[in-house]
């Protein structure tokens, strides 16, 4: 895997990330529903993973190397808009379809569904289940001697779900060194700041006590993200233990009035808000 990005590559990825934010905004506005905050926090992490780290093929099941693909599970299924943008960017479907998001008959269901869209490993949406599924896949890959990685993308609020700890224990016990969890630490959940609703800190110590290694990263810095993914794979194999990456992110990243607030977790903007947000994003280019 390539760990250093040329300045041109970096600026290209930053440009895509920027375009993704605009698409996410348009998709949620167009659908008049969706989760802006937690999608905008996930942009760089998902983009870098799919562009630079994950072994995958847009031909999906028709791909010759399908069984050797790396697996990605979006455990926080409400970040579907960001994932759809990445999958469209990677050629899984036409970008024009992005505007069908959450509409009747669309492949782009409110939460990702493997029934509707190639590129989705498993349907998610009910929080707390993705890490266990990832453990099962990690065990299955080991059984078949396939040295692919499994990535599970979790929300920080999501780790209030009890099943997460069952899965953490599973991965620690089985020393799943092919499993990497990414925790989108944007600090907010629907009802407020995570530390006010039900504190999740210290996340690193929780994982460590279950036999995991942890790394942290600025979840919006593409260069650092790429480095941390590389590092995670390296130490997983080296120490035969799963790795959790705590990615410090900003909920609603990119739109000043949506940043760091729970209010925009699951709300669609009205016309005025949409235009203001779009203007801000466009000015950032």
């Amino acid at each position: 895997m390539q760990t250093k990005l040329s300045p041109i590559e970096l600026s290209k990825l930053q440009k895509i990330a920027h375009e993704m934010r605009i698409s996410i905004l348009k998709m949620v506005y167009n659908a008049q529903s969706g989760h802006l905050g937690g999608n905008l926090s996930a942009v760089e992490l998902l983009l870098t993973l799919y562009k630079k780290v994950l072994k995958h093929d847009k031909n999906w099941k028709k791909s010759k190397d399908f069984q050797n693909r790396d697996r990605f599970i979006l455990s926080k299924g409400h970040a579907s808009a960001a994932l759809y943008c990445v999958l469209a960017e990677e050629g899984y479907f036409d970008k024009k379809e992005l505007m069908t998001f959450r509409k009747f008959g669309s492949k782009l269901q409110g939460h990702p569904s493997s029934r509707f869209l190639d590129g989705i490993e498993v349907s998610t949406g009910s929080l707390g289940q993705g890490l266990s599924i990832a453990c099962g896949i990690a065990l299955g890959l080991k059984l078949d001697n396939i040295d692919s990685f499994v990535y599970a993308y979790l929300g920080d609020g999501e780790i209030q779900e009890g099943q997460i700890y069952e899965a953490m224990m599973n991965a620690g016990h089985n020393r799943l060194d092919n499993l990497i969890a990414i925790i989108d630490r944007n600090g907010y959940q629907i009802d407020g700041h995570t530390e006010c609703v039900k504190c999740v800190d210290p996340i690193d110590k929780k994982f460590q006590s279950f036999g995991w290694q942890t790394l942290s990263v600025d979840g919006h810095n593409i260069e650092r993200i790429l480095e941390v993914y590389e590092k995670a794979k390296e130490i997983a194999i080296q120490n035969k233990k799963p790795v959790a990456i705590i990615a410090n992110t900003v909920k609603g990243k990119g739109v000043s009035f949506m940043e760091n607030t729970a209010a925009w977790h699951g709300k669609a903007p009205n016309k005025e808000q949409y235009e203001a947000a779009l203007k801000e994003l466009e000015e950032q280019n």
């Binding site: 069984q67 697996r71 569904s113 493997s114 029934r115 490993e121 498993v122 349907s123 998610t124 949406g125 009910s126 707390g128 289940q129 266990s132 599924i133 990832a134 453990c135 099962g136 896949i137 990690a138 065990l139 299955g140 890959l141 059984l143 078949d144 009890g162 099943q163 069952e166 899965a167 224990m169 599973n170 016990h173």
Partner: protein, 315 residues
Amino acid sequence: MGMTIGEKLSVRKTYGETLAELGETRSDIVAVDADLSCSTMTCCFGKKFGDRFFNAGIAEQDAICTAAGLALCGKTAFVSTFAIFATGRAYDQIRNTVAYSNLNVKIVATHAGVTVGEDGASHQMLEDVGLMRGIPNMVILVPSDSVETKAMVKFAADYQGPVYIRLSRTSLVNIHNEDDYKFEFGKAQILEEGKDVTLITNGETVIEALNARKILLEKGIDAEVINLHTVKPLDTQTIINSAKKTKNVITIENHSIYNGIGSAVCEALSENCPTKVTRLGIKDVFGQSGEQRELMHYYRLTADELAEDIEKILK
């Protein structure tokens, strides 16, 4: 020679042995348990195929989703625990992960019904068929003896998609001969033909219904007995045909009278052939501690009480 009529065998042991047997030729089969492998008998598989056996510990939600993950790797994943935990505690995992993604996971739940016995109501699952019945993509099988259990486990291993198999803790007397038995998926089995009343049942109450039929015959009542081993998909046609003939249907189940086979039969008949249906089973109450047989008597699920109640219904 295979298993024969009249042998009393543990269906759980039959499940474990069948799974272990299948494991020899089917390298895609894996098993997940949640710290009850010596009760669910997945230990039979675990002892032989340690690398393909995964103990999730006392963590049923993790067990179901781990099985889902294994299925996503192309495995045929059997996952077992008690019915109360499988379908109760891990309902959302079964619905949203296993069934919604249509994964090849076989949930073989044991200790269903009031006959868990001494452990009492907390462990006596009386709502599992109801919970599973409402989930799209789910197949529900309830064997009445070891012959059926073995056939169903084999069927589940070949079937692509989610399956729920409901096993009792109780050892059951075989009502089938293995050598001349063929499992017909989705086809209710008419065990005895009759003209006065239709008894529809499955699982451990099948033998009770058959014995109740004998008592009723002495009183001049000729009951038809149907083994509804496949609850979903439901064999509506066989139920309708029998109802048309006898014009009186009674369902018998070691399950709540809500949402189990009684409800399934009522749904099928009210839409297609309105017929009086009486549901015998656990009447919207929790169970309690007691010896298996004692509980069966108390909840009026043994042949004697069934015959008594059926006679009253028919009067």
